[in-house]
């Protein structure tokens, strides 16, 4: 697998549950913390996993196959465009929905990301309401207490 190499994966699991899985990959730790907290607050049923660089993020995606990947572009080492390329080259990860949250996007990189099938590209600072909307649009419906987990998830 493209991401399988011996490296340290910096990730954390905030909530373990059978609900949706969201992976956040960004090299800005403060932004990652704020966004992870917001996603967990909005979707307490979801697992929120984070990585602080592209390669670790790619490994996390390959291992966890999240419902939604919130991905930065400009990161040291492997950038977000390359992460997208590798994910899209892996048929087992075809269902992973990717949304870009970037502090700076060139028209060229945005065009390439859209060609790779990302759902949307947002420029930071992203209004929190947009984050809420994309969680609502792109995550499976929230499981209520006592509800069965859909088979295969």
């Amino acid at each position: 697998m493209a991401f399988m190499r011996e490296i340290q994966v910096s990730s954390q699991t905030s909530i373990a549950s059978p609900g949706a899985t969201v992976v956040i990959v960004d090299d800005d730790a403060s932004f990652v913390n704020a966004l992870a907290r917001m996603v967990s607050e909005r979707r307490p049923d979801a697992r929120v996993l984070t990585a602080l660089d592209g390669f670790a993020g790619g490994m996390l995606v390959a291992a966890e196959r999240p419902d939604l990947l919130l991905l930065d572009v400009h990161m040291n080492g492997m950038d977000g465009v390359e992460v997208c390329r590798r994910i899209r080259a892996n048929v087992e990860l075809a269902s992973v929905q990717i949304v870009i949250l970037s502090g700076h996007l060139t028209p060229e990189s945005e065009s390439e990301l859209r060609r790779l099938g990302v759902l949307n590209c947002f420029h930071k600072p992203v209004p929190p309401q947009r984050i809420h909307a994309l969680l609502h649009e792109h995550l499976p419906p929230r499981l209520m207490a006592g509800e069965e987990t859909p088979s295969g998830s």
Binding site: D26, D28, S30, F31, N33, A34, L35, R37, M38, E41, H74, L101, S102, G103, H104, H123, K124, P125, V126, P127, P128, I131
Partner: protein
């Protein structure tokens, strides 16, 4: 300094820099600065939203005068964040202007 004044000052300097072979380096530095500031502003945006939500949740338990003071402070801080966003826009426009001249 108002953003308009800053734009004017930068335009004057950029005009003088157009022939400089290192103008491209300056443009890249400006873009990197904008990127890093946008990251920080992104964090601020999310955190302000969270703090406002918490304030709304506990508002009933706060004395009205303290609640008003807290909301005024948050509003003021959000205004400062918006001013920073405007300045990042100015820097970004400068980077684009330098790109066009190289």
């Amino acid at each position: 300094m108002e953003a308009k004044e800053l734009i004017k000052g930068l335009e004057d300097i950029l005009t003088g820099l157009r022939a400089d072979p290192r103008a491209g380096e300056l443009a890249q530095l400006l873009r990197t600065t904008c990127h890093d500031m946008n990251n920080a502003l992104g964090t601020l945006s999310l955190e302000f939203f969270s703090v406002n939500a918490i304030v709304d949740d506990v508002s009933a338990a706060l004395p009205p005068s303290e609640l008003a003071e807290l909301k005024a402070a948050l509003l003021n801080a959000e205004g400062a964040r918006d001013a920073c966003e405007e300045l990042v826009g100015v820097l970004h426009a400068s980077a684009r202007a330098l790109d066009r001249t190289n």
